[in-house]
């Protein structure tokens, strides 16, 4: 009886040792996939809402909103976003210059869009013409209401804009023929997938080149 009891105990332990890890593994497989899908949802949703936030900020500027604005917990559907409109001075035609920040944070994900906005001064009634450009994004969890974080973003974006200035100057300094020739000279070091159409692509780049 003792021997049979021992065998039975061994069998039960063996069953437990086999099935419990299998159960744990399977439950993790299923729930990890759902977690990853939810993470993707948070990532995409935060980007979409931040972009919508930028559009709502521009809309507010078109409505002649002026001065520093720090608007928090604005709602789009069930998701909230924050807006900061930071005046940065006036332009040559006395338009109000702004840095516009829009942020959406979902779960552990944050998405921020920053752009320049120029609010032209019209006759007193809105809608006011607003021009937006150089929109820049970051997934770093900055706080758009904190001066230090705002400055950090302005600096990072500024560095990228300096790079843009350099490429613009390069394009302006070349004639279309020179520009296209420089591009075609790079063909040999391109990946195989790009080589076949590179002359057509270079033609399009030549058309898009800045003249002045």
């Amino acid at each position: 009886m003792t021997r049979r009891r021992g065998i039975a105990l061994f069998l039960v332990l063996a069953l437990v040792a086999v099935f419990v890890p299998v159960l744990l593994y399977l439950s993790q497989t299923g729930s990890s996939q759902v977690r990853q899908a939810m993470k993707f949802h948070e990532v995409q949703q935060s980007e979409s809402v931040a972009l919508s936030g930028t559009n709502s900020g521009l809309c507010r500027l078109r409505g002649n909103l002026t001065g520093l604005q720090q608007l928090s917990n604005l709602l789009l559907g069930d998701t909230s976003y924050d807006l900061t409109l930071k005046p940065t001075g006036q332009g040559v035609v006395l338009q109000n210059l702004y840095h516009l920040f829009s942020r959406c944070a979902l779960g552990r994900h944050s998405y921020i869009l920053m752009s320049d906005a120029e609010q032209l001064q019209p006759d007193p009634d809105p809608p006011v013409m607003v021009i937006s450009h150089d929109t820049w994004n970051t997934v770093e969890p900055y706080d758009i209401n904190l001066a230090a974080d705002v400055t950090a973003m302005e600096n990072l974006r500024g560095q990228d804009l300096l790079g843009f200035e350099a490429t613009k100057n390069y394009e302006r300094g070349k004639t279309p023929a020179q520009y296209e020739s420089d591009l075609l000279a790079k063909q040999s070091s391109l990946p195989q997938e790009l080589k076949a159409d590179w002359s057509s692509i270079a033609g399009v780049l030549k058309e898009e080149k800045l003249q002045f």
């Binding site: 439950s27 899908a37 559009n55 409505g63 789009l76 559907g77 809105p126």
Partner: protein, 160 residues
């Protein structure tokens, strides 16, 4: 008393215990599979909705109109601004491919299997006098295991 063999009753009991232990494992396989399927379709719906939101920004403002529920099917759907035609590797419109069984069988089969549809709910919003913006609710619906599932994304579409 020494017994020389295992009795039938003992075999039946042992089998019963084995089956009882197998049942949770079997159901776990099933639920893991359903979870992977659900996450696959949810991931697809998320990208699907995002695609519509981006296309809305490129469309003329007046073309952003309501598509009421139960929504527009994508497989075998009409030409729209979002999905059909889906690609064109030729140089004229005659080469355009639509999501049909003949032209894109793999994609068509996937979309038909789960009956993916999209609907748009459009409302005007007003943050500023004289300005125009639409709040569009993008609703993606599909069927999974006989159940109707839904994913929603809201976006603002400015009049630029």
């Amino acid at each position: 008393m020494n017994r020389r063999a295992v009795s039938f009753v003992e075999i039946v009991i042992a089998l019963g215990i084995l089956i009882v232990c197998m049942v949770p494992v079997l159901t776990m396989f099933g639920s893991a599979g359903r979870a992977v399927l659900k996450s696959q379709n949810l991931g697809f719906a998320i990208g699907f909705a995002h695609r519509i939101s981006q296309h809305l920004l490129a469309m003329p403002f007046e073309s952003v109109t309501e598509v009421p529920l139960p929504g527009q099917p994508v497989a075998d759907g009409p030409d729209d601004e979002f999905f059909n035609p889906v690609s064109n590797f030729g140089t004229t419109g005659a080469n355009a491919l639509r999501i049909t069984k003949a032209q894109t069988p793999d994609l068509w089969a996937f979309l038909r299997k789960y009956e993916f549809r999209y609907a748009l709910i459009v409302n005007n919003v007003n943050f500023a006098a004289g300005d125009r913006m639409k709040c569009v609710g993008i609703i993606i619906t599909w069927k999974e295991g006989g159940k109707d599932l839904l994913y929603k994304l809201y976006t603002y579409v400015p009049d630029i």
